[in-house]
């Protein structure tokens, strides 16, 4: 399980960085999204990595930490996903506007600016 997680973080991060180097805006936005997925999984893996354990304690018991998943990284990832969603949506709007105004999807827009 750890190996699968590590590989997916690596593949997502690598693809994201590669897409960020591309000159088209659509590739940029997909690259940023992939990179943020990689980071989210990375945060998730930071709270140890127990499989099939609940993050919430049973009511009325103190609970043994070893038997539970750490809920904080899950909360952090949730926050990061929400913020990432908002920024991606906003960025998409800006990108579409730029596409409309410049008539192209190159990141430098109008070439030979100044």
């Amino acid at each position: 399980m750890e190996l699968i997680l590590a590989l997916s973080i690596g593949v997502l991060g690598g693809s994201g960085v590669w897409l960020l180097m591309r000159p088209r805006t659509f590739q940029l936005i997909i690259g940023l999204s992939l990179l943020s997925y990689a980071v989210n999984l990375f945060i998730f893996s930071m709270g140890r990595f127990p499989v099939g354990r609940p993050p919430v304690l049973e009511p009325g018991t103190a609970g043994d930490p070893a038997q539970y998943a750490d809920p904080l990284p899950q909360a952090l990832v949730l926050t990061a996903i929400v913020i990432g969603f908002a920024t991606t949506a906003l960025f998409l709007v800006v990108m579409l506007a730029a596409r409309g105004l410049t008539g192209g999807d190159h990141v430098d827009g109008r070439r030979q600016d100044h």
Partner: protein, 508 residues
């Protein structure tokens, strides 16, 4: 209630203002009134916070009734209180300037909610005591800043915002990874708690990587040497009110975060960071100032100078003696006032001569001598001419780097100072001194609110210069608190349970 929660008001007021202004989307008059009230209230709240921190020491509030390190902390020590107060001043000055500069079209596009949302993000970043929250405030700042950048809906702005957005989103992702690593090692995200836990954990490769990631993430935000290219590519496209507040505050949030993290959580001393920071500082200064030398657009010159000035602040952090940190803090305060003022002046020059291109403008000395006189104050201050604020700021960091055994950094700083003066002379010669090539039809008189805002900031610059002592003393005590953060840690972790369980007690 009012005083006990003083840390929260500088964040809560702009947030509420933004929400209220957004509710009155169609009614511009109501938005303007709400915005004016919000700016004044926030300025008052930041001054109150500054006064309270001076009188009573570090202020800390735990959110939601959970004691630190479990709840979200808001903390104001001397450094962050000063940053919040200067944010209040900047908000007031740019709001005043905006009275004459912001067009109805921009107001209709949501200028007021975005402006206050950005201020909330900036103040939140200054006052939060939790490193994950710092990320959230960064994102608040980024989202609203993107909106403000494209508010004019021109091609150049959309082009600028693409670079701004991509690199800043990338930087927050890097920052987030660093936060995850910190959590993995320490199991906490409260900065005061991290300062306690990490020394027990001892040095490790994970922590080194985390520190470097933080440096990269904040470095992109702040515009440090290899990472500053987005800044001159985007700032000059914004409308001038927006550019002024960006130039004054946004990069400095990155610098503030660096100062906070690399004194409280990591140390520059003995971790190998000093060499990296020193080289970055020197290159930031030089590349910024050389970049400015070849530009002819006032806003682009000023954008490159933001970068070179950031180098001086980083120099303070690289040397990391109390005197150097005090110099860095003093430099940040001085720079925010002066740089925002120069951008406002660029707007006034544009209004008076009809162009941002220095080659096309000229003759302002004769046409508006008052503007010329007002330009001299921040321009000479930026160049470091006594007795203005820039002289003391440069004197403090350069003196500290000589004493800290980093003489070469001091030499670079001195050379950069001379080249800065060259750029300022260029603006003076071209825009004010020389005769205009031809009379421009678009040139108009500079409206009174613009002059008032510029004069206010110029007066602050002169005041800091002539009455430097209280400011220097404040910066020194703030730096002392950075070097020895025990008060900060005690205020966040210790004081709350000691006050009695009233806040920590779960409510029935």
């Amino acid at each position: 209630m009012l005083l006990a929660q003083a840390v929260l008001w500088p964040v809560a007021i702009p947030l509420a203002t933004a929400a209220l202004a957004a509710c009155c989307w169609q009614r511009l008059a109501a938005q303007r009134a709400i915005s004016a009230a919000g700016v004044l209230l926030m300025f008052a709240a930041t001054l109150l916070l500054l006064w309270q921190v001076r009188a009573e020491g570090v202020q800390a509030v735990q959110f939601g009734g959970w004691a630190a390190p479990f709840g979200v902390s808001f903390v104001a020590d001397r450094f962050s209180a000063a940053m919040a107060a200067i944010t209040g001043l900047m908000a007031f000055a740019t709001w005043l300037f905006g009275q004459a500069d912001i067009r109805r079209r921009e107001e209709r596009a949501g200028f007021h909610p975005l402006f206050h949302g950005m201020l909330a993000g900036v103040n939140g970043a200054f006052l939060t005591g939790d490193i994950f929250n710092l990320y959230v405030w960064f994102e608040v700042m980024l989202i609203t800043a993107m909106g403000l950048l494209v508010i004019g809906r021109t091609r150049a702005q959309l082009d600028g915002v693409l670079k701004y957005a991509v690199l800043n989103l990338f930087s927050t992702l890097i920052f987030l990874m660093a936060v995850a690593l910190l959590y993995g090692v320490a199991g906490t995200l409260n900065m005061a708690d991290l300062a306690v836990v990490l020394p027990q954990a001892g040095p490790s490769l994970t922590l080194t990587i985390s520190a470097l990631l933080l440096l990269c993430g904040f470095g992109i935000k702040a515009g440090y040497f290899p990472l500053f290219f987005w800044l001159p590519a985007s700032y000059h496209t914004a409308s001038i009110t927006v550019a002024a507040i960006f130039a004054g505050l946004l990069t400095k949030v990155g610098v503030y975060a660096c100062f906070r993290v690399f004194t409280l959580i990591f140390t520059v001393e003995g971790s190998g960071l000093r060499e990296i920071l020193a080289v970055m500082a020197a290159c930031t200064m030089l590349f910024g100032v050389f970049g400015a030398a070849v530009q002819w657009d006032v806003r682009r010159i000023l954008s490159f100078h933001i970068v070179s000035q950031i180098g001086y602040m980083l120099l303070g952090l690289a040397v990391a003696t109390p005197a150097a940190l005090a110099g860095g803090i003093f430099y940040i305060i001085h720079h925010i006032v002066v740089k925002a003022n120069l951008f406002l002046l660029a707007g006034a020059i544009h209004r008076a001569s009809g162009t941002f291109d220095l080659r096309q403008s000229g003759g302002l000395m004769r046409r508006s001598p008052l503007l010329a006189a007002l330009f001299l104050v921040p321009a000479l201050s930026l160049g470091g001419i006594p007795p203005l604020s820039g002289f003391w700021a440069k004197f403090m960091v350069i003196d500290a780097s000589f004493r800290g055994g980093q003489g070469w950094l001091a030499a670079v700083a001195l050379v950069t100072g001379i080249l800065t003066l060259y750029s300022m002379t260029k603006i003076w010669m071209e825009a004010f001194w020389k005769d205009p090539l031809m009379p421009r039809p678009t040139a108009r008189a500079v409206p009174a609110p613009m002059l008032a805002a510029i004069a206010l900031l110029a007066a602050v610059t002169v005041a800091i210069g002539l009455q430097a002592e209280p400011f220097v003393a404040y910066a020194q005590s703030a730096a002392q608190a950075l070097v020895d953060p025990s008060d900060y840690i005690a205020a966040v972790l210790g004081a709350v349970p000691a006050e009695g369980g009233a806040m920590a007690e779960p409510r029935p």
